[in-house]
């Protein structure tokens, strides 16, 4: 049976204290051995204590570095997330501004700026693929009378109805832009002269049948149209100019008709 350390210690100490062994030859050696053992034990305990201390410092240090690192990481992630949000906001704003810069505010149609951009693109495509490109200028007949009779607010409403009618009368890939006050530019890509005339005649019929009733009064409107075909390599402004001449000719011919340049 193994003796408990404390009772073993007690036994050694009582043996050393015992008077009958005082002159025993082994007593001195035992006393020395005992003292040495005590000293070693004490040193061992001190070393473990110091080592544990260092260990604890290292662990605490690593913990705090880890904690600070995680804290910084969270902050950084937050800053990045918010910053991305602001960037997204700017992009949305940019898209809105771009749309606004290209849209006629009243009618929602493309404005002159977008029309010019599309004209340039379509002219280039036409030159590349040798496809016909038709351009028309449409002007509402006697629009001034609407303004004079019903006021500008009603005039604007009529313009909006007109814009819708034109847009609905065209194909998806055709462009309709508000060119001026009551003047619209229509671009018919990949459309030969005869087909363009057919599309625009149909559009004129739409316009005549447009159910306009400003302030409860029935109003019948017509439009004059000048058509020009784009000539390969020419400046698009020359095409516009010929369409404009054709439009003037249509007006002179008594309005409500199509004239091709």
């Amino acid at each position: 049976m193994i003796e408990q350390p404390s009772s073993f210690d007690d036994r050694i100490e009582s043996l050393l204290r015992d008077a009958q062994y005082l002159d025993h030859p082994l007593r001195k050696a035992l006393a020395q051995l005992w003292a040495q053992d005590r000293e070693r034990l004490e040193r061992l305990e001190r070393i473990s204590l110091i080592a544990d201390g260092y260990h604890r410092i290292a662990i605490d240090g690593a913990k705090s570095i880890n904690q600070r690192y995680n804290q910084h990481l969270r902050r950084l992630e937050k800053a990045v997330r918010i910053s991305d949000g602001y960037q997204q906001m700017m992009r949305e704003l940019c898209a809105k501004l771009e749309a606004a810069a290209h849209t006629d505010q009243l009618t929602g149609l493309a404005n002159r700026r977008l029309a010019f951009k599309r004209l340039g693109e379509e002219a280039k495509r036409t030159n590349r693929h040798h496809q016909p490109l038709a351009l028309a200028l449409l002007d509402i007949d006697h629009f001034k009378r609407v303004n004079d009779r019903f006021g500008h607010y009603t005039g604007d409403e009529v313009l909006v109805s007109f814009a819708q009618a034109i847009r609905n009368g065209l194909r998806e890939y055709d462009l309709c832009a508000r060119w001026g006050g009551e003047e619209f530019l229509i671009l018919l890509p990949n459309t030969a002269a005869a087909a363009a005339v057919a599309v625009l005649h149909r559009l004129q019929e739409h316009i005549r049948a447009l159910p306009l009733a400003p302030k409860g009064q029935t109003l019948s409107m017509t439009a004059s149209i000048g058509i020009a075909m784009y000539r390969a390599g020419e400046d698009i402004s020359d095409t516009i100019s010929r369409a404009d001449d054709a439009l003037i000719a249509a007006k002179r011919r008594g309005r409500d008709c199509c004239v091709s340049a």
Partner: protein, 125 residues
């Protein structure tokens, strides 16, 4: 003691630190060329104010766009407020935004999370 006045430009917000009133107001966009020099003054003013006495501090913000450096700097300022609040100081943020631009309010809310002091996000018509 000393007021902080930074006149705004297109890329720098209007900043007014009113020492007497205990108000730091910032209005406009913030994407300065040198964000450090701009926000260093602001952060120093806040630190000085918080160290000087025990009066309340209120941030009145009408900030719209912030670039990344400005986002970071604002977080630094809010951290100062959080520390002060933990020490019992009365601090608050009132962030006003145009109700037509909800995004600004949403981003202010992103700033707000993690902070425990009063942080109000207020739509303005």
């Amino acid at each position: 003691m000393t007021d902080l006045i930074i006149p705004g430009t297109q890329s720098v917000p209007d900043v007014l630190g009113d020492w007497q009133a205990g108000i730091l107001a910032m209005n406009g966009d913030s994407y300065p060329e040198n964000a450090f020099s701009l926000f260093d003054q602001i952060i120093k003013w806040v630190e000085k104010y918080l160290a000087a006495d025990s009066r309340a501090l209120s941030l009145e913000l009408r900030l719209i766009y912030l670039n990344t450096s400005s986002v970071r700097a604002m977080m630094d300022i809010f951290d100062l407020l959080e520390t002060a609040a933990a020490g019992g100081r009365r601090v608050a943020v009132n962030w006003y935004f145009d109700s037509a631009n909800e995004r600004v309010g949403e981003l202010a809310a992103e700033f707000k999370e993690d902070y425990t002091f009063p942080f109000h996000i207020l739509p303005v018509d």
